[in-house]
Symmetry: C2
Subunit: 392 residues, 2 copies
């Protein structure tokens, strides 16, 4: 058999495998959306107690406007109900069922998800008041991040290092993408901001390019102690696909190659559990034991982010290594997190891959300070057919 023929056959086989995954992921998306439509609504108050409202409004609008089969009024009305709920009560981190604030964060993340949700609502409904909310909140967030954070109400303590969590430029870059989509005016307005975010994220590559650190000083130096050594492989992979989208906008293949190397391959190599499979939640750059009790647990969202990152990296670069890694992560994820019996995915597995928490997501009580609930619905959606808001 000639090499040319074999090559064509291999390509054909590859195409079939990818097609099979696309169908599998599509079916999973249907199951997950059905699960949330059935379980996540609150008859009495129109919305549930979960702080997942922010992520859910964004996701419902996104599905409504980007998938023919989800373009139905039930989804849009659920999103609108959530939108009105958010408009009334803004960004309290945790809300009671009738919307009274129980707790507020001192970070920008609720406001970022609020901005994403409002922008998607505008795109889905055409109602300008939503977009006005989104743009005004965006200006506020940019002011907090780049000019003056005192509005967030965090006490400024002389001993605190000027630490930058990677999540901050990541979220902002994500908002630049969200607001700039098919919107030349806003895309132009936020071009410089997008470049700034990318530079700040890239500053988290430390130790001669051998580690992505979650927290660095604002001038791009490693911080002392375990805060400085903290790594979060799933978060680095997520930053990776945010940066890949940035490279696509910029048409910068050189930066793309750097991003694939440092934010996709590097975190996967360090973060994948060689014994049981799956991505560790936290790691220490010096291989000390992380201080987070849950460091070795396998969470659903780093695996969603990894699948998105590798698939995006492959479709941009055509590098088969990235496709192989997508398969590796996807097979683990669908085998371990998926609940074939009642639908949706489990969120938290032990190091060995056993279900550690049987809850399916919302409401994750914001009182516990995890903030994950907001991503509850969105991030657990299978990748490749849609993207999801980043973790705070």
């Amino acid at each position: 058999m000639s090499n040319g023929l074999r090559a064509r056959q291999d390509m054909e086989k590859e195409r079939e495998t990818l097609q099979a995954w696309k169908e599998r992921v599509g079916q999973e998306l249907d199951r997950v959306v059905a699960f949330w439509m059935e379980h996540s609504h609150d008859q009495e108050h129109g919305y549930s107690e979960a702080s997942g409202v922010l992520g859910r409004v964004w996701m419902y609008c996104r599905l409504y406007r980007t998938f023919q089969r989800f373009h139905h009024s039930q989804l849009l009305n659920a999103a609108k109900a959530g939108g009105e709920f958010l408009l009334r009560y803004k960004c309290a981190f945790v809300l009671t069922r009738d919307g009274r604030p129980v707790k507020v964060q001192r970070t920008i993340f609720s406001e970022c998800f609020y901005t994403m949700a409002m922008n998607e609502l505008w795109r889905a409904t055409g109602e300008v008041r939503y977009q006005t909310e989104a743009v005004e909140m965006m200006d506020q967030i940019v002011h907090w991040v780049r000019e003056d954070a005192s509005g967030l109400g965090r006490p400024q303590l002389q001993g605190a290092p000027t630490a930058e969590p990677m999540a901050v430029p990541m979220m902002l870059l994500n908002l630049v993408e969200q607001l700039g989509e098919a919107d030349e005016e806003l895309a132009g307005k936020y071009t410089e901001l997008g470049d700034w975010c990318a530079r700040r994220i890239l500053q988290h590559v430390q130790r001669d390019g051998q580690a992505v650190l979650e927290n660095v000083s604002e001038d791009g130096k490693e911080l002392s102690g375990c805060l400085g050594r903290q790594q979060n492989p799933g978060h680095a992979l997520e930053a990776g696909w945010f940066l890949l989208r940035h490279c696509i906008r910029k048409g910068d293949p050189e930066l793309r190659a750097h991003v694939v190397d440092k934010f996709l391959l590097l975190p996967f190599r360090s973060g994948w559990d060689p014994d049981h499979g799956g991505l560790f939640y936290f790691q220490d750059a010096d291989d000390f034991c992380p201080t987070q009790l849950e460091w070795a647990m396998k969470l659903w969202w780093p695996h969603s982010e990894a699948m998105i990152a590798f698939l995006m990296g492959y479709s941009e670069s055509g590098d088969p290594v990235l496709l192989r890694l997508f398969y590796q992560v996807a097979e683990y994820t669908f085998r371990q997190f998926r609940d074939p019996e009642y639908g949706e995915w489990f969120g938290y597995l032990s190091r060995e891959g056993k279900v550690a928490l049987s809850i399916k997501g919302g409401p994750f009580k914001g009182e516990w300070g995890t903030g994950r609930g907001r991503r509850g619905c969105a991030s657990r959606l299978p990748p490749a057919l849609t993207t999801c808001p980043p973790p705070p």
Copy 2:
């Protein structure tokens, strides 16, 4: 063989078993103190980065003044160095090595441990300035808890329930014991406060006496949602031995029987893992899955508290059931948590009992908001020969 003879032989056997445990625990205490004296000090700054300073100062003084074999200047000087450090920088929750605050809590707990440390320093050194600090801080804490919490700087949100974490009256009751020890004047001053604390702790027994709940409303009602259903068996057992000391002060055997039933036996029955042994960290009163990722992990401190509680309960009531439970917990604890190779105990085991975090304690970074570091040294000391400050 006559019954009388057999009974005497059984008693003799019991006495030998208890004596063996006393020696085992005593040796463990020596090992642990040696470990901390060797590893916990910071040559340059006289004290370490750990927020464990508060607990350590208390513990060193306690050991110095209550154990002949620890009555040496090395321990006292280490405690004094820590005391001066605390006097300079007060109660910032997390301190840099040169004492600049990195983070502050919005709770009373740092101040409570500060009060305990200062009172012990006074007892160990006789220097009145320490006691002045302790008593002034105590008055401040009582003001925050019983009159006006606004000084703690927590934002008051209309939706927030008036939740009382059991830790608050527990800590206060512990301070009443600490300051009142062999001090008739302060014991008298805080008598009413001690009774109030006991009443408030007892309010956490809910559901017709079938559950101890971590959080209840200030008027003693169950709160809605998973906050209201939250249980922490080790914390309930710890509250149990605080209440037992209160019963001893009061000479109230009726209350003692109630405390043994509700705060020792009940939490142990619900909280002991029937499959792998050990106490779960968190539980849900309706047997839903807790939302804490670490809910099923086995932590050192609930086991320390349980050993103290059962031993104290036995020595007060003579009930052999409590002695059997002490043996059960002590055997698990010494088998699973103890590090025979490098000394000290591991702090965190998986549900199955495998070491999940290899760190031995300080510094647990307060940045992670756990606050456990402050207890790092003290609570992991074996029970029965000494007692330890409660968890925040």
